[in-house]
Amino acid sequence: MSLSISTTINGTTRDIALDDPRVTLLDLLRERLGLSGTKKGCDRGQCGACTVLVDGRRVNSCLTLAATLDGAEVTTIEGLAQDDALHPVQAAFIENDGFQCGYCTPGQIMSALGLILEGEAGDDPERIREGMSGNICRCAAYHGITLAVQSATRRMDAEQKGDAA
């Protein structure tokens, strides 16, 4: 059987013929579209390693059936850096050493971006910690992650104000 969806992934609209209705967004990205930046850590929504943005909201791609994404807009870690420039969240993770092994990092960064877009945490470290607690980092780079999200929030705010002015 085949099921067709039309989904925009990192700005490019793709017509995808799903070979199996059981395919999750995570396995679609990793095993079928060659976008292996998104990581599988638990496959049941407990660790956040597979976090991507769907229509601007962060979701666990392991719990999202690909078949439900007709017409959706998906952003993955591969879609953040523009031309030759890192996204402010990516740069902030490097500068603040917000990772060690790097396996949870794509999910942390997508979750951080989602959190910033939600606009609920600001640069308050307590709220950032809470808002980032769906993403487990076993190396425990949490201190750097919190600093990175604070720093990226401020930078994105400043950029937005610059644009507005």
Binding site: G34, I94, C101, R129, I136, C139, A140
Partner: protein, 748 residues
């Protein structure tokens, strides 16, 4: 895009600079290739079926439904498994364990593979594994320390720690005017690296290509070569990035070998990635321990004896006893020291090394016990530790290669504000009415070295390639080893290409024991030094060189040039020496290991002091670590930014050891009931606040040529005890079981 942040104050050598990670760009853009990210033409997916009992045998396996499922190619069971030339229960390398690869119908622990399903897609393989039905003849599972008789160690070996006695423990007990006798229990813990164990295996004739995370590339290749009876040079293992290891990814395990068997059988590449649930079984864990510790002190508060007995769980078929009581050796100046070990065989997967094996579990108990006796002796916990400060290694009398622990105590205590701590427990409350407690612990970890080799190639354009099969599991090898290598050649970091994580490179040794930077770095240092030495010899014989006749004695490499020390006028560019010699490149090898004589002469350890503040809700039993200050002395720090991250990570592992991590077995089936990341608790971001790391400078002329001691594991030690002691200080109650749970607080 630059992955290195420019720092205006940067000068001098590369080592010691807080460079950002060289692999940072790849890791934040999703282009860092972890094992399971590898795609291959014709790739098949394998999923194994885990045993649902812990002890007994598989009575029947029905595979027809799985085989009929669309996409399923093969179901491998003990009945049809292709032969494996090597014995899966043999030990081809020093750190090998017996592995379970469908060699028989016995079930040794819950979660052991009983069949393997290979399919065209991950979905079909997953469903196929679900469709395999097994029936069992089950025996009652033994999963707790009291479920089986204990035994002693006849012949000490890896995984079988021998007893250690210094002085006269009985006399020490007799001489004590203050004594404590306490028994602590520590629950089993599972590594749970974020990247589950994974492999992509592909055969080409009798050549094997593996993408799989490895903390020990060379040793792993030797084991695979043995198991499949092929020359070791036929095994290519690529492990550029490990998504965490923590000790669990040093040696091959059964599931990985099953994937290789399937790939050969089907003549197609096979990918196997453990599910999170499968991480609780065949891939090692920190074994459960019960530790009795008896301390005695005289009227001045000087320890007369540390007597530490360890009872540790191992599997029914293999030996790895968590060497917990050894942590009582080497730290405090007791007149007598005794560390003993006994084991219990249970129906569990074989335990193995997990971040700070032995030291983490042993230090947790030792540091709490020291607090107990300090209180009994009426002394401040820090004063008691200073009173028992060891100027030379207790028991052996060997000098320490370096030991800035006193400075760690002082700086940590000052940063934390320890002097304001009320002696009596239960005296501090915050504005919300929560109980507040302050505790401390000493951190301690040996500084071992293993053996490694490296190669350095200087090229005519002034750039260099440096190579060793090191492993970066997050500690920062890609960066800190490149820093060492660049220094060894006197080159700026950007001129050096560092190649690593591939088995065809010179053997980078084992990334474990906190010894990887010292060992692989030592080999790189030696290789670069050998290039420089040869250049010096060449220049000395080149009449056109400013170094003609200079010899090697006072030469120093820096900034791409060789300088005669003390003579500004005499220097020569590395590339000019190479050009005059008519060479397009110069290659040299280097090795590192610690000579036995050096290891005997000095005691070599990293040290530290950890101070913790906890807030306890007296009604709910909820405990939160609100401040954690660690001061560590660990020899030379190659990259302060990355070392600090490692130390913080270790301290957070301390939080999780003290308050979170515990695998629980169902007593009837023997299965672990909380085998996932929702129920097996590890810290999340909200659990971590108020974290501060101080590194105390230490020059160590003996530990190795680079003065490196290692920072990967020490952060856990000290921290667990500090938190346990803080809880005691907050509540006045002593809990002797880790993790300490809200229900423990509420039950008393």
């Amino acid at each position: 895009m630059s992955d290195t942040i420019a720092r205006p104050d940067r000068f001098g050598s590369n080592a010691g600079q807080p460079m950002t990670r060289r692999d940072g760009l790849a890791k934040v853009t999703g282009t860092a290739t972890f094992a399971a990210d590898n795609a291959r033409e014709g790739l098949l997916h394998a999923v194994y079926v885990p045993a649902t009992i812990a002890r007994g045998r598989v009575a029947s396996l029905r595979t027809d439904a799985a085989e009929a499922h669309p996409g399923v190619i093969r179901v491998i069971t003990p009945a049809n498994r292709p032969a494996l030339p090597g014995d899966p229960e043999a030990k081809p390398t020093r750190f090998s364990f017996a592995i379970e690869v469908l060699q028989d119908d016995l079930v040794r622990y819950a979660g052991q593979p009983v069949a393997l399903v290979v399919a065209e897609t991950i979905e079909a393989a997953t469903e196929g594994a679900r469709l395999v039905t097994a029936t069992y003849e089950a025996d009652p599972p033994r999963t707790d320390l009291d479920d089986a008789p204990d035994f002693g160690i006849d012949t000490p070996d890896f995984g079988a720690p021998g007893d250690v006695v210094h002085g006269d423990p009985e006399a020490g007990h007799a001489a004590a005017s203050t004594a404590i006798d306490a028994t602590y229990e520590i629950a089993p813990q599972y590594h749970n690296a974020m990247e589950t164990h994974a492999i992509v295996a592909e055969w080409d004739g009798d050549r094997l290509l593996l993408d799989t995370p490895s903390q020990a590339l060379s040793m792993s290749c030797a084991a695979y070569a043995y198991l499949f009876d092929i020359p070791v040079e036929n095994v290519t293992l690529r492990s550029p990035y490990l998504g965490g290891g923590f000790g669990s990814k040093a040696i091959p395990n059964g599931p990985l070998v099953l994937a290789i068997i399937a790939a050969r059988d089907l003549a197609r590449p096979v990918k196997l990635m453990l599910t999170r649930q499968q991480m609780f079984g065949p891939v090692g864990h920190r074994g459960q321990t019960r530790q009795r510790i008896r301390l005695g002190a005289d009227g001045d508060g000087a320890l007369t004896v540390i007597d530490h007995e360890n009872l540790a769980a191992t599997s029914s078929f293999e030996m790895f006893l968590e060497p917990a009581s050894n942590a009582s050796q080497g730290l405090y100046a007791a007149k007598a020291l005794r560390s003993r070990h006994r084991g219990v065989r249970l129906d569990i997967g074989t335990p193995g090394p997990m971040r700070a094996p032995g030291e983490a579990s042993g230090s947790a108990v030792l540091e709490c016990a020291v607090d107990e006796i300090a209180e009994a002796a009426g002394m401040d916990p820090l004063d008691f530790r200073l009173k028992n400060y060891a100027e030379t290694e207790p028991g052996t009398g060997r000098p320490y290669s370096s030991k800035a622990l006193r400075e760690c105590y002082a700086r940590g205590a000052e940063a934390f504000g320890w002097k304001d701590r009320p002696r009596e427990p239960g005296k501090m409350r915050d504005e919300a009415g929560l109980l507040v407690g302050w505790g401390m612990g000493t951190a301690f970890f040996p500084s071992p070295m293993f053996a490694a080799e490296a190669r350095a190639t200087l090229r005519a354009d002034g750039t260099a390639i440096v190579e060793t099969s090191a492993a970066d599991m997050g500690q920062g090898a890609w960066t800190s080893l490149a820093q060492i290598a660049a220094d060894s050649l006197g080159l700026p970091l950007d001129s050096v290409e560092f190649r690593s994580g591939h088995s065809a490179l010179p053997d980078g040794g084992v990334a474990g024991g906190s010894g990887h930077t010292a060992t692989a770095g030592g080999a790189l240092h030696a290789a670069g030094g050998n290039v420089i030495r040869q250049l010096g010899e060449m220049a000395a014989e080149q009449p056109d060189s400013p170094l003609f006749g200079a010899g090697n004695a006072r030469l120093r490499a820096h900034g791409g040039r060789l300088h005669v020390e003390g003579d500004e006028t005499r220097s020569d560019a590395l590339v000019d020496i190479l050009a005059r010699a008519g060479k397009s490149e110069l290659v040299a090898s280097g090795k590192a290991s610690r000579p036995d004589e050096d290891a005997k002469r000095h005691a070599m350890n990293s040290h530290g002091a950890v101070f913790a503040e906890i807030r306890v809700d007296p009604d709910l039993g909820q405990m939160r670590v609100t401040r954690l200050v660690g001061a560590f002395a660990a020899g030379r720090i190659i990259n302060p930014r990355l070392a600090e991250s490692q130390l913080k990570g270790g301290m957070i592992w301390g939080i999780s050891f003290a308050l979170h991590e515990e695998a629980r077995h169902d007593r009837r089936t023997g299965r672990i009931v909380n085998a996932d990341l929702a129920e097996y608790r590890v810290p999340v971001n909200a659990d971590v606040r108020g974290l501060e790391v101080i590194t105390v400078h230490e020059d160590d002329a003996y530990v190795n040529a680079l003065g490196i001691k290692g920072v990967g594991e020490i952060g856990i030690t000290g921290t667990v005890g500090a938190i346990g002691n803080a809880i005691h200080h907050a509540t006045g109650k002593r809990f002797r079981r880790f993790p300490i749970r809200p229900r423990d607080l509420l039950a008393t």
